[in-house]
Symmetry: C2
Subunit: 404 residues, 2 copies
């Protein structure tokens, strides 16, 4: 059932979010076990959380997770164990509410957002869909290719997305109107925990120390607006900056440790600071669904670890090398998580070949790009679905364009 995902939130997960309810005066940090949302500023006042070596009761009272994310890994490990212990002893009872009574807010304040593009299938499929010819980027084997995204339009799931207006090509000329090629991109994002100063030594193998956890990301994309501007060499801008959705729960690296999985072997040698002897990805199964007129169609089901040529550690290292500080709360997203088969294509540009090869949805309608009213839902679970570690959902419904 939409919005429940009880099985994603077992005792082994302990994800973090920011929650608000009518029974509490201000938003605060929360976690979720089953369908219970536990308010952590309150739980922190009693043992065993009160014994953690950080002032959790003030850290968890903040309106974002940034102060908590910035803590050393030891504190994250201690806190997770203390929450599990408190739950087992039913100490959370006075500090919890049912998930249906809690509104989840954007979990972190994002100071910088980098969107990478590290699926080999996505980067070769995209030029094929757009120009009829697959082509691997020149630098694909050298470093994770990325660009800076927009922070002001990052919204928490299930905030709707409004179809953007802008300029795109019609018969070779730029015209203005509502985008006719609205797409989703199924991505996973890493949230920076401990910051990394600009003058620090940077090695991919050390970068887990700076990752707080992972989220699901929908990098909504307007393919016609993007196509118009990307004829020039400055990259995507208006085609992306109208909205990016983030799941409300940050699943920590501690919870994902049990689901580590080797990253694909590199096909070419890489520069020493990107070289990672134990190159690690995560065993996540990710799905995308489109809901149109009440009928749900699964449009993608893909294994995360197999599709990502570069790991988050490598993305962080490449982002930072040269002197670029990473701050707590920064978002580094994977880019579209597409795999090799048709059922693993993680955006409509690939799945419908830029609208030229429409698919059928379960309501019988034709799928080229997104229509007003369509809902796009992403989910992800770690390991098999019985492990109790999942991301819940990242969902958004398309609202009609607001024309000038």
């Amino acid at each position: 059932m939409a919005g429940t995902y009880t099985s994603h939130f077992g005792i082994n997960n302990i994800p973090y979010g920011i929650g608000r309810s009518s029974r509490r005066s201000a938003p605060q940090a929360v976690t979720r076990i089953g369908d219970e949302v536990i308010f952590l500023a309150e739980l922190s006042k009693q043992a065993p959380l009160a014994d953690v070596s950080a002032d959790l009761s003030s850290i968890f009272a903040e309106k974002t997770l940034n102060a908590f994310a910035a803590q050393p890994k030891d504190v994250h490990v201690e806190t997770r164990a203390a929450i599990q212990e408190a739950y087992k002893n039913s100490l959370h009872k006075g500090c919890s509410e049912d998930i249906k009574d809690v509104e989840l807010l954007l979990p972190v304040q994002v100071g910088d957002f980098t969107d990478f593009s590290v699926s080999r299938d996505h980067v070769t499929n995209a030029p094929k869909a757009l120009f009829g010819k697959p082509q691997l980027p020149h630098t694909f084997h050298n470093f994770p290719l990325g660009y800076a995204g927009r922070c002001s339009s990052i919204y928490v799931s299930p905030t709707p997305v409004t179809r953007p207006i802008g300029q795109f090509l019609e018969n070779g000329k730029a015209v203005f109107g509502a985008s006719r090629a609205l797409d989703y991109e199924l991505e996973v994002g890493a949230i920076v925990g401990r910051p990394l100063a600009g003058d620090t030594d940077v090695h991919a193998k050390d970068m887990d120390e700076h990752i707080f956890g992972l989220v699901l990301v929908n990098d909504w994309s307007s393919r016609d607006i993007q196509g118009c501007e990307m004829r020039d060499p400055l990259g995507p801008f208006k085609g992306k900056n109208f909205g990016t959705s983030m799941s409300p729960w940050v699943v920590t690296l501690e919870a994902l440790r049990a689901f580590e999985s080797p990253a694909p072997t590199h096909e070419e040698p890489v520069v020493h600071f990107l070289d990672d002897p134990n190159s690690t990805s995560y065993n996540l199964t990710i799905e995308a669904e489109i809901v149109r007129k009440g009928s749900t169609t699964t449009v993608c089901k893909v294994a995360f670890a197999q599709t990502m040529y570069w790991t988050f550690r490598q993305m962080l290292a490449h982002n930072a090398i040269g002197g670029c500080p990473l701050n707590t709360g920064d978002l580094l997203a994977s880019g579209t998580v597409s795999g090799p088969s048709e059922s693993e294509l993680a955006c409509l540009m690939e799945l419908t070949m830029n609208g030229k090869e429409p698919k059928k949805l379960s309501d019988g309608s034709e799928l080229k790009y997104l229509e007003d009213g369509d809902t796009v839902r992403f989910t992800a679970v770690a390991g098999d679905s019985s492990a109790g570690v999942g991301f819940g959902e990242c969902v958004g419904t398309v609202k009609p364009a607001r024309l000038l």
Copy 2:
């Protein structure tokens, strides 16, 4: 004399910054008249500032100008007049220090940074310098071309810049090392004042309401790292994200009103939301100097208004259209302010044709790209230099690369 610029700060300017001194416990908002820096949280406690219709004493006590920038224009107009009045009546005497005793900090917290590229000369010169052939971008006449930049590496002048390390091409192969083609880009930036929500009507002609003021910007660029990554279509990333310098003083639109100047006529019709019947730029003369081994060479002197095909109003409108919120403190930079003649080329890629046509500096040395120890200094004045409205300087010295 370096760092003085007394004549830029007459009674008609009243720029805003954030200052710290050993005699005061915390940074606060400051302005400058002549060589006197006036601490505004303190001055606000007495008339006439205390009569302004905003709680200036708390707004000016913040560590950034964001809370002040977010005020309505009426408050900016009132505050400016009140400061001028206070100064004329010598009420500032207990709240001021000499400029040499004050450290200036980054004036705003930047949540998003867009770098545009709106000088016709720069955009045609760049492909000529890189590939031997001038070429106007496809979309140049349709909208101001821009991309998202990095916020975490925006530093206040005179913070030094460290030569970045990264991957660039050597004999067609990507190698790793210290950039050999470090460049500056002479730019002007607009700071967003009143925020603009994503669901607002957007018209260029209304956008001055959302501009707090202008700053000088040095968009330091590594041409070899940038050249390697920009063979792929996602735009500049590592070639730019190691550092961006911003001048410490925000010169308000109120101070610049007297220096409004018509923007260049558009060569093609533009979409209605970018159409601006009174398209306005500013009469600013901007200079770049390189100081090498104590010897100063002016490398660029250019008239801002004539070079900018698109205005800041149009850049804000294009940035926002489609639903992208603009937040207070956001930086929108012009891109390299190059004019048509050699003395008006505002980066070294253009001036030295990507190092292939070296110039001579006044110390007799050869100028291709920046060397370690070089200082780059930008200045700008409004109108003729007697008007008392200028930007001071945006300066930075190149520190050697920190090799891994």
